[in-house]
Each structure stands twice: as structure tokens, then as C-alpha cells.
């Protein structure tokens, strides 16, 4: 029974695919996978917009949406209808083809990235992909081009400035993002997401053997999380769309459903990168405690994804936006050296073999690097004390 529940969606898919002649079956299977991903994550996107507005409202002492449906739950639906029926404005000076293509180039690669995420046991849309993590990052790298297309084709200085900021930021944070993922690939010895999840399927007593519970994994997870926030242009790294300076950055000149597509692409990218963080560091669909393995595996994936979404909303409500020089200094002077030290720590962890020594050595190395780098960066950025003319 538990097994059937665990494999519910796999059985369902096989049953539907069984209706079709053998020649069609691979295409029907792929189509079903794609439909499931689009349906589930677009719904999650709709719910997240509602949750985000409600949560931010709570943090800012206001109600948030509460007019449409109970607790404003139908607000995403109303927003969707609004986006579909709005006039699609294209500036006269804009480059129409590139302006039209930009939202598509943003959303399609993001959806492609989902093809290697293991949502549950035997639930990888692209099974047996030898270079899964690489596919994820390759798909993600196309979004920079889409942002450039949007910013350039609008013929608007704010769009262009937003695109410049976005590309600079994404290029800078892509380096620590990939380097922190490389530690896991080094330890597991495979780029395949299925093998990475399988490698974390051991339990020490009750406790799981996830990568986040090792010194290098913990540091890698935090680095990955910060870099992922920056990659998906979320607050506090939302300079590219800073409302108060750039109106909305690279998508100022988009309206109607194209604007909604930019939002969709941003949130889908956020979910995808959270899913990769779960896969790399938090054991994928593995249960958090050994006696909970009877709960279906897909439940655990989503149970781990939702706290990520809540965390990102919380961060957005809490932290002020960074300045551009702070952003770049943080990426190149702290994140990058830290990620490189983390690689060394992971290598030491591998070569020292089982025992207490590897815990002490890699933890000490990371702690020393953290303290030294923190001192160096904050020391370099020391500023004279400010004097306010009227307040002092």
C-alpha cells in the first residue's frame, strides 16, 4: 500500500501511456511529464503570489489581498484574467521581433531545467541523464540572454540599465553558484541528479546522511542559497528591477500577459533552483528521519520546497536592498574565495576517510576562511562616521 502510494504518479502515467500504440509511447510519456510540470508549478506560482502578498502584508502591518474569494485566495485567478485581457502595448521605437521573443526565451529554458529534478522515487522527467546538473545550469544560462533581449529591444533607458545590472549580477553570482554545487559533484562522483539523491539515502541511526550535515555541505548550502537568491533577482539582490530607481528594470515596457510571463519565469526559476538545492544538499526526496520513510517520496520533495518559498518571502520582507558596489564586492571578494576554500574542504573530507579527523579539519578550514575573509572584506569597506547636518 505504501509502495503504491509512493509510486502513485508513476503508475498513473504508465496506465495512461499504455492506451497508446508502442510507437507513440515515448512521446506521450514526455508530453505527460511536461504537462504535469507546467500544471503543478504554474499552480504553485499562482499560490505563491498570493502567499507572498499576504505574507508581506502581514510584515508591513496591512491586510494584503482580501477582496476576491475567501482570504483573497482567488486573487491569482483575477490577476491572470486581468493579464490576459489587458492591451498588449509595444513601444513604437521597440524592436518588435526581439521584444516579442524575450519572454519566451526566458520561460522555456527555465521549464527545461525542471527535466532533471527528481521529484520523487523514479520521478525524474528525463531519467538516466548522465549530465543532469550540467543541463540545469546550461538551461539557466540562457535567461541572461533573454534579459538582455528584453532590456535592449524596449528602447528605454531604464530597461537597458536594468538589463545591464541584471546581467552583471547574474554573471558574478553564477560562479559561486556553480562552484558550490561542484563540491557535491566531487564527493558523489557523478553529475546525475538521481545518483546524487541516491548517495544521500543512508541513515546514521535516525539521522539522515544529507550533504548539508557535513562541514563542506553546510557551507556549500549557504553559499548556494545566497547565490541562488541573487541569480533569481530576489530581494535583497533585486537591484535589476529596483522599483524606486528603475521603475521595474528590464520589463518596464511589457504589459499584459508578457509581463505575467516575466513574473512566471522569475518564480519558476526560483522554484527550480530551490529544487536543485534540495537535490544537492537536502537529500532530494529522501525522508528526513529513518522512521518516516513510509511517507511518499514526492511529499517530501514538496515539503522541502515550501519552506524555501516561505524563506524567500521572509527575506524579501526583512532585508533592505544592497548597493551595486556592495553586491559586486560580496560576490567577488567573499563568495568566490569562500567557494574555492569549500572545494578544498570537500577534497580533504574525501581524502581523510571516515573518522573524526575529517570533521575537524574541514570545519576548522572553513571557519578560519570565514573569519579571515569576513575581516578582510568588512575592513576594506570601512567608512568614516557619518554626520547628519540637522539630526546630530
Amino acid at each position: 500500500m505504501t509502495n503504491a502510494l509512493d509510486q502513485l504518479f508513476v503508475i498513473l502515467k504508465d496506465w495512461v501511456v499504455g492506451w497508446f500504440p508502442a510507437g507513440w509511447q515515448p512521446f506521450v510519456g514526455a508530453l505527460l511529464d511536461a504537462m504535469a510540470i507546467v500544471a503543478v508549478f504554474a499552480t504553485l506560482f499562482a499560490l505563491t503570489t498570493w502567499l507572498e502578498r499576504k505574507g508581506l502584508g502581514r510584515m508591513q502591518n496591512r491586510y494584503g489581498p482580501n477582496r476576491v474569494g475567501p482570504f483573497g485566495l482567488l486573487q491569482p485567478l483575477a490577476d491572470g484574467i486581468k493579464a490576459l485581457t489587458k492591451e498588449d502595448l509595444v513601444p513604437r521605437a521597440a524592436d518588435p521581433v526581439v521584444h516579442f521573443l524575450a519572454p519566451l526565451v526566458l520561460v522555456v529554458p527555465v521549464l527545461l531545467a525542471y527535466s532533471v529534478l527528481p521529484f520523487g522515487r523514479n520521478m525524474v522527467p528525463l531519467p538516466g541523464c548522465d549530465a543532469g546538473v550540467l543541463l540545469f545550469f546550461a538551461a539557466g544560462s540562457a535567461t541572461e540572454l533573454a534579459i538582455f533581449m528584453a532590456g535592449w529591444s524596449s528602447r528605454n533607458k531604464y530597461s537597458l540599465l536594468g538589463a545591464l545590472r541584471a546581467i552583471g549580477q547574474m554573471l558574478s553570482y553564477e560562479v559561486p553558484l556553480i562552484l558550490s554545487a561542484v563540491t557535491v559533484i566531487m564527493i558523489v562522483g557523478s553529475l546525475s541528479t538521481e545518483k546524487i539523491v541516491a548517495a544521500q539515502g543512508v541513515y546514521h541511526g535516525w539521522l539522515p546522511g544529507w550533504h548539508v550535515f557535513t562541514p563542506w555541505g553546510f557551507a556549500g548550502f549557504l553559499l548556494f542559497l545566497v547565490a541562488a537568491t541573487a541569480e533569481s533577482n530576489r530581494s535583497p539582490f533585486d537591484l535589476p528591477e529596483a522599483e524606486s530607481e528603475l521603475i521595474a528594470g528590464y520589463y518596464v515596457e511589457y504589459s499584459g500577459f508578457k509581463f505575467a510571463l516575466f513574473f512566471l519565469g522569475e518564480y519558476l526559476g526560483l522554484f527550480a533552483v530551490s529544487g536543485l538545492a534540495i537535490t544537492l544538499f537536502l537529500g532530494g526526496w529522501q525522508a528526513p528521519l529513518s522512521f518516516l520513510t513510509w511517507v511518499p517520496s514526492w511529499f517530501w520533495f514538496f515539503a522541502k520546497l515550501l519552506p524555501f518559498i516561505a524563506l524567500f518571502i521572509w527575506l524579501r520582507g526583512t532585508l533592505p536592498r544592497l548597493r551595486l558596489d556592495q553586491l559586486m564586492n560580496f560576490a567577488w571578494k567573499f563568495m568566490l574565495p569562500m567557494a574555492l576554500v569549500n572545494l578544498v574542504a570537500a577534497a580533504l573530507w574525501h581524502w581523510l576517510g571516515a573518522g573524526l579527523a575529517r570533521w575537524l579539519v574541514s570545519a576548522a578550514l572553513l571557519a578560519a576562511a570565514y573569519l579571515a575573509l569576513g575581516r578582510a572584506v568588512s575592513g576594506a569597506a570601512k567608512m568614516p562616521q557619518r554626520h547628519y547636518q540637522l539630526a546630530d
Binding site: 524592436d95 543541463l135 541572461e144 540572454l145 538589463a163 554573471l171 557523478s190
Partner: protein, 166 residues
């Protein structure tokens, strides 16, 4: 299988022609990015996952972005550039035809094309990694050194600019 090849080949060739023939520089850069992506698709279709995905990551994700970034910073890219015709056109065509002919002749006469097709090797990513770290470790290190030198050079150029401004 063949259909995938024909579609990818057509997209790659069309966008490569577009990269040369389009009037606006940004359109050319975007067409070039599409050509890179089409090439990656061809690698993937041949079963070379690592090469194909690395092609996307490096060429579409880095090289194309670098090109458009440079375009954005250097000149007024909105204006259409010079007309397509140029006095050196026939000469260029002749050189291109010669180079293409030489390449085709070299490929057709090479012993590699007569060799029977072998089974695709399994676990290719791991094999590439092992080969890179054993047989090809010297070229790898030389390239790494070259890239580091280029990186340090770029930093030094940027630093000098700052000093002269003070």
C-alpha cells in the same frame, strides 16, 4: 532521428547565415547565439551530452552574453550598420569556397571516416574527467594558466584606470 538532425542543421545554418547577413549588430549577435545552441543540439543528438551541454553553458551562457554586453557598452547599437555590399565580397567568397573545399577534401580522405562505427561508450562524463586528469593534464594546466594570466591582466588594466582618475 533523422528529422531531428535536419531541423537542427537547418536552424544552425540559417542562424549562422543570419549572424553574417542581418543588418543590426544585436540581431547578428542573437543569431550567433542561436547558431551556438543549434550546434549544441547536434552534439546532444550524437549522444555527446557533456560536450553539448558545455557548449550551451560556455557559448550561449558566456560568449554570447559577453558579446552583447560589449555591444551594449561600446557603441550605439540601435542604428543599422553599413549596407551588405562590399568591394571585397568576391574575394571573400573565393577564400571561403577554397577553405570549405579543403576541409571537405580533408574529411573525405581521412582514415577516420573509413573506420567502422563503434558502439557508443557509456559513462562518458566520468571518462572525460578521467582522461582530462591523466592523459591531458598538461594541456589542461596550460590552459588554466593562460586563463589566470588573462584574468589578472584584466584586473590590472581596470586598476590602472582607477589610479589615473585620482
Amino acid at each position: 532521428m533523422d528529422w531531428a538532425f535536419f531541423i537542427l542543421a537547418a536552424v544552425t545554418l540559417a542562424s549562422a547565415v543570419g549572424a553574417m547577413a542581418l543588418r543590426r549588430l544585436v540581431h547578428c549577435a542573437l543569431a550567433l547565439a542561436l547558431a551556438f545552441a543549434g550546434l549544441a543540439g547536434l552534439y546532444l543528438q550524437l549522444g555527446a551530452q557533456f560536450v553539448g551541454l558545455a557548449q550551451v553553458l560556455v557559448y550561449v551562457g558566456a560568449v554570447a552574453v559577453l558579446i552583447v554586453f560589449a555591444l551594449m557598452l561600446t557603441r550605439n547599437v540601435a542604428a543599422a550598420t553599413q549596407p551588405l555590399g562590399s568591394p571585397s565580397w568576391p574575394l571573400g567568397l573565393a577564400v571561403a569556397a577554397l577553405a570549405f573545399g579543403a576541409l571537405v577534401a580533408a574529411i573525405l580522405s581521412s582514415p577516420a571516416i573509413q573506420r567502422p562505427v563503434r558502439e557508443l561508450p557509456s559513462g562518458t562524463v566520468q571518462q572525460i574527467g578521467i582522461r582530462l586528469m591523466t592523459d591531458f593534464v598538461l594541456p589542461l594546466e596550460v590552459i588554466a594558466l593562460l586563463l589566470t594570466v588573462a584574468l589578472i591582466g584584466a584586473v590590472i588594466i581596470a586598476m590602472q584606470e582607477e589610479r589615473s582618475r585620482e
